[in-house]
Symmetry: C2
Subunit: 112 residues, 2 copies
Amino acid sequence: MSANIIATLSALAEPKRLQIIELLREGPLTVGEVAERLGLLQPQTSKHLRVLHKAGLVEVHAMANRRIYKLCQLPFRELDEWLGSFQQVWEERFDRLDEFLLEMQGKDGYQT
Amino acid sequence: MSANIIATLSALAEPKRLQIIELLREGPLTVGEVAERLGLLQPQTSKHLRVLHKAGLVEVHAMANRRIYKLCQLPFRELDEWLGSFQQVWEERFDRLDEFLLEMQGKDGYQT
DNA sequence: TTTTAATATTCATTGACAGGAATATTCGTT
DNA sequence: AACGAATATTCCTGTCAATGAATATTAAAA
């Protein structure tokens, strides 16, 4: 369940990779195009794309010499769902600490 | 802008820290309680909580001896907004590769 | 078939970070 | 003031991952 979330997060938690992802929002791109648009060396670009691919964030399509990388939807949907599990929390009364402090106070004999 | 996103992602991209975050969904907790509920040692728990705090994911409230850690909303909202910038993309025609391949084909003289 | 473009991979180096053990700090209690 | 509970910090060590340089692979073009 949240194992995939970790994979997604780790893959995204790297500046250049995040840039790549944001770039790919505009549409599928070739390795060379990604490298050029972001000012990266080709080998590093390939390596980052491989990490993103392993994490299931992008898919590849071979076309002659070139490899076209394209965003996948699933991991982003999963991440979005996971974030959704928090939105319920905000609506609850957990955003006020006051009553929790009171509850805390009773737990054992601490004088404030 | 996306600098904060990176901080958020890096902080979350660690199994134990993600567990802590998910635990704190249920409400604010003491360091000791977090450690106990997740079977972690106290020092590691403190260290993870410090990272989460530096990233702005949790806030602390000192109460006598204890420190109560509580989730922050902002970073999660930001992450959610960032994810939102993708949802537009899915609706576009980028999910079909076909026409992109055609467009690609014209770029320079490659025979398929 | 030799060359050239596009991409992937390997290797070595380096820096960041998590884990464990030990210790320091803070504060309430007696 | 001394003790004990709760938490933070330091030090050390091992591991993983990003980087750069060089090289290998694949396919197209001449």
